[in-house]
């Protein structure tokens, strides 16, 4: 227990200290985590911690991240990306593998080894790149989308690679190289562990979970089945994820939402993601691919934002942990032992990958700053490289000595990625300012108005805005409501609008306007206060439940304050006038006058209102309300007809005196 607490504490403190500093310095969170990992690596070594084991666990963050990416991507969008996915992704993997292989051959590697090295290094780091793109708001740019296509292709390509690599086995080449003494001891353990686990899994579905089944998850639904049956089971599992996502999630989430317990929803979201990952692992598919698909299926769901905000913290923590382990896993003995070679290999790799990527941009017409974002962003090797490396060693494809060097190259290339992003941001992007502005516009299109609360009130507002062609994002906490609304084709999302994470997921940063139509003074105030202080650019229209509340909202800096029932009350009064025989136009003028007078009273009272003093003790307030009431009571009981007098002014004809005076003036002139 103490061990666990100590370990958790070390990791957490490393992250909590390093990341804010790195962000403040403009280096991005990834570099912060990596450096934190390097800093604590001696400590971890001292404690005898199995960093690699933790890394395998933390890789689950990648699975969650792909789920979240999927949630952002509607099926339509994915389909429209298909050319890019296969073309860009395929050519990147094939091109990089081939080039690395040629260079390997030139250095005298046997072809099987050279090919395996090519496959390992062709992959990039989904974790680092997506995290950084998201953090810097570059995900929606053309460069970001292209990068994402390639990463997705790579994640899928890992599966056939894992099936293919065992075919390259060359046991007789394995004791190549004399530096066996330099190998890190746990790399060996790891390698032999793999050998044990996978020796029996070399068939068509020898592909296994790249994310951590090396720790004993040897269960499989397809092992031992004939190829056709295994194929059917696999297709069935993918089908189950898609159909389940479409048909089962909504009733399930609604059922859970009925309980009204927030943590239940978190548990359900985690259960969902882990369940899919498990299913995919059992049939030998990539769990990242499975959760990604599930995410895409749910991209249109009203629970999307809620799922996003529930899974996101776990993704963040796990990826942070993953980056720390990458930093902590760097073998400094080996690095300093072969400093020149390792650095040269790392830089060479980055140059080569960038070269291939830039060549692809020309082929696919990616221009301007997007070209460089794509070229520099994907230049590293990635976490799947780690997985493939231990797998190749276990299958006797790459000799351990070489694998250790490569492990270091992969880690260093990841460590340098934040630097490449900084180079992009500081050195390259500023030269393409014009195209950057255009990109910003694109992002703004989505959900410029957020409507919190879609009851009878918010619903009307939403219909009006939609009718005028505005993109709205609606948040509501009543599951019953949502079904009905969705059947009308509205875009509504389930969740408590007062929660910052949900607001964030709904895109409050990019919104132009927030309309607060939820119930409850406290909730309204909390929401307005949070948004006003964190996103000053967002205009706020809020609904006040009573007069006192108007003052509160006014003090908080609401742009427009609408009294909940005022307008409908005035209309009721107007209808009463009409039915009592008043001319409709007079009824209109009188009710306008009344509303104006009431607003005047409100303003007068707001001036003497003091939020720090309870109204019952505010002498000025009481005094003012007495005078104003006295004036109006005279109208009401003394029949002084104050409103009438005012409305009369406009249409009262001139008197005989006026006409005489005009005539006199005329005769005088």
């Amino acid at each position: 227990m103490t061990d666990f607490l100590l370990l958790a504490f070390v990791f957490l403190i490393a992250g909590v200290v390093a990341v804010p500093i790195a962000t403040r310095l403009g280096l991005g969170s990834v570099l912060g985590y990596l450096i934190a990992g390097i800093v604590i690596s001696p400590l971890l070594a001292g404690l005898g911690v199995d960093v690699i084991a933790i890394q395998h666990f933390a890789e689950f963050g990648v699975v969650m991240m792909l789920f979240l990416v999927g949630l952002e991507l509607e099926p339509k969008m994915l389909w429209s990306m298909r050319n890019r996915l296969l073309g860009l992704g395929g050519l990147q993997v094939v091109g990089t593998t081939a080039l690395v292989m040629v260079i390997g051959l030139a250095f005298g590697l046997y072809w099987t080894i050279a090919l395996a090295v090519g496959l390992v290094l062709a992959l990039s780091s989904t974790a680092i790149v997506l995290q950084t793109l998201g953090e810097k708001g570059l995900m929606k740019t053309e460069g970001g989308q292209s990068s994402f296509s390639v990463l997705l292709f790579q994640d899928i390509a890992v599966i056939p690679m894992l099936a293919f690599i065992p075919l390259l086995a060359m046991p007789e080449l394995m004791d190549l190289g004399g530096e066996a003494a330099l190998h890190a001891p746990d790399a060996h353990t790891e390698a032999s562990g793999h050998a044990g686990d996978h020796s029996g899994a070399h068939g068509a579905h020898g592909a296994e979970d790249p994310h951590g089944d090396s720790h004993g998850a040897s269960l499989s639904l397809v092992e031992g089945l004939p190829a056709w049956a295994a194929g059917l089971v696999t297709i069935g599992a993918v089908g189950a994820v898609i159909l389940g996502g479409i048909y089962l999630t909504r009733p399930l989430f609604r059922f859970i939402a009925m309980a009204g317990l927030r943590e239940l929803f978190v548990a359900a979201a985690l259960m969902f993601v882990i369940g899919i990952a498990l299913l995919m692992t059992l049939v030998g598919l990539s769990p990242a691919l499975g959760t990604f698909l599930a995410g895409v299926v749910l991209a249109n769901s009203e629970y999307r934002h809620e799922l996003e905000s529930n899974v996101d913290p776990f993704r963040g923590l796990l990826l942070g942990l993953f980056f720390i382990t990458v930093g902590a896993g760097i073998d400094f003995d080996l690095l300093f032992g072969q400093f020149g070679t390792i650095i040269a290999l790392t830089l060479g790799l980055i140059l080569l990958k960038t070269g291939v990527l830039l060549a692809l941009t020309m082929l696919f017409g990616i221009k301007g700053q997007d070209r460089w974002l794509f070229g520099l962003g994907l230049a590293q090797a990635g976490e799947f490289g780690f997985v493939l490396l231990s797998f190749t060693v276990a299958n006797q494809v790459i000799p351990p000595a070489l694998a250790d060097q490569l492990l270091l190259v992969v880690a260093l290339s990841m460590l340098l990625t934040p630097a490449l992003f900084i180079l992009f941001e500081k050195g390259i992007a500023p030269r393409f300012v014009a195209s950057q502005e255009r990109d910003a516009d694109d992002i703004e299109e989505a959900g410029e108005v957020i409507i919190a609360g879609h009851g009878r009130f918010g619903g009307v507002v939403n219909r009006m805005l939609r009718a005028a062609g505005h993109a709205t994002t609606v948040l509501d906490y009543s599951a019953g409501h949502l079904d009905m609304l969705r059947s009308f084709g509205f875009k509504v999302f389930y969740g408590d609008a007062t929660r910052p994470d949900l607001l964030h997921a709904a895109g409050i940063e990019k919104a132009r306007l927030l309309i607060v139509a939820i119930d409850g003074k406290e909730q309204i105030n909390a929401l307005v206060h949070y948004v006003r202080s964190n996103f000053p650019h967002v205009k706020i229209i809020a609904r006040a439940v009573d007069r006192q509340h108007v003052y509160d909202l006014f003090a908080m800096g609401c742009d427009e304050i609408i009294r909940e029932t005022f307008d409908s009350s005035v209309r009721t009064g107007r209808s009463a006038f009409e039915l009592l025989g008043m001319h409709p136009f007079d009824a209109e003028l009188v009710s306008r006058k009344f509303a104006e007078d009431d607003r005047y009273i409100l303003k007068e009272m707001a001036l003497v209102h003091d939020p720090k003093i309870p109204t019952s003790e505010n002498q000025a307030y009481i005094e003012k309300s007495r005078t104003l009431m006295a004036e109006r009571e005279a109208q009401i009981f003394g029949k002084s007809k104050a409103f009438d007098l005012d409305t009369d002014r406009g249409w009262r004809p001139p008197s005989e005196q006026d006409v005489q005076s005009i005539t006199r003036d005329h005769e005088a002139s």
């Binding site: 136009f585 009824a587 008197s655």
Partner: protein, 210 residues
């Protein structure tokens, strides 16, 4: 038999004596459509489709209003702006009102003498109705000589106003019955109470069955 619609426009009806009396008299006539514009559109939200249909369903369009600042009350202007659309009332394919008659019935605070070059209103009252006259022409409508009550503020309710209202109603019912044409409009003519009273017997004789 002509189909008549009276558009009555008065925003301050609780002060009205002349127009209210005229409106009441018009309202009493059978087979005359009567519209209180300010009651129907208190928020100026004119229903264009409905108004155009109304125009098509009538032959004589009457606008009855007090003269405010040498013009109509604002809702009448709004009504014109919205209802007399091109393609309907004028312009390409816009001859749906062709052949109909536009009759203006207005009351003025100023006296008949005031509406002369020597008077304090300086211009004859007809001059201020020019926009309506030209509107009728553009819409291929006949502009009838307008009915006018001068000195409407001084007029006595039981005498001048009652007489004018009766004459006004008499004119409407004669027109409804399909009376011989109104006197040709010279561009200067107005029909005062006295003019109407001399005209009516002839008009009514044309249709003794009324």
């Amino acid at each position: 038999m002509s189909r008549i619609i009276v558009y009555f426009a008065h925003p301050g009806q609780k002060f009205s004596r002349a127009n209210l009396a005229m409106a009441k008299a018009a309202q009493r006539l059978a087979d005359v459509t009567f519209v209180d514009l300010y009651a129907e559109y208190p928020r100026h939200d004119i229903d264009v489709e409905k108004e155009q249909a109304r125009l098509l369903a009538h032959d004589i369009i009457v606008f009855q209003f007090p003269l405010y600042w040498y013009s109509t009350p604002s809702l009448v202007k709004e009504w014109q702006d919205l209802v007399l659309q091109h393609g309907f009332a004028y312009g390409h394919g816009g001859d749906r009102l062709a052949g109909k008659t536009l009759l203006v019935a207005t009351t003025a605070g100023g006296s008949e003498e005031a509406y002369t070059p020597e008077g304090y209103q300086h211009f004859p009252l007809r001059r201020f109705l020019t926009p309506l006259e030209q509107t009728a022409r553009l819409c291929k409508m006949t502009f009838a000589p307008p009915v006018v009550l001068y000195s409407a503020l001084k007029a006595h309710e039981d005498r001048e106003i009652a007489a004018h209202a009766a004459a006004y109603a008499g004119l409407l019912s004669a027109l409804r019955a399909g009376a011989a044409a109104l006197p040709e409009d010279t561009g200067e003519t107005v029909l005062t109470t006295a003019d109407l009273e001399t005209l009516l017997p002839a008009l009514q004789k044309a249709h003794p069955d009324d």
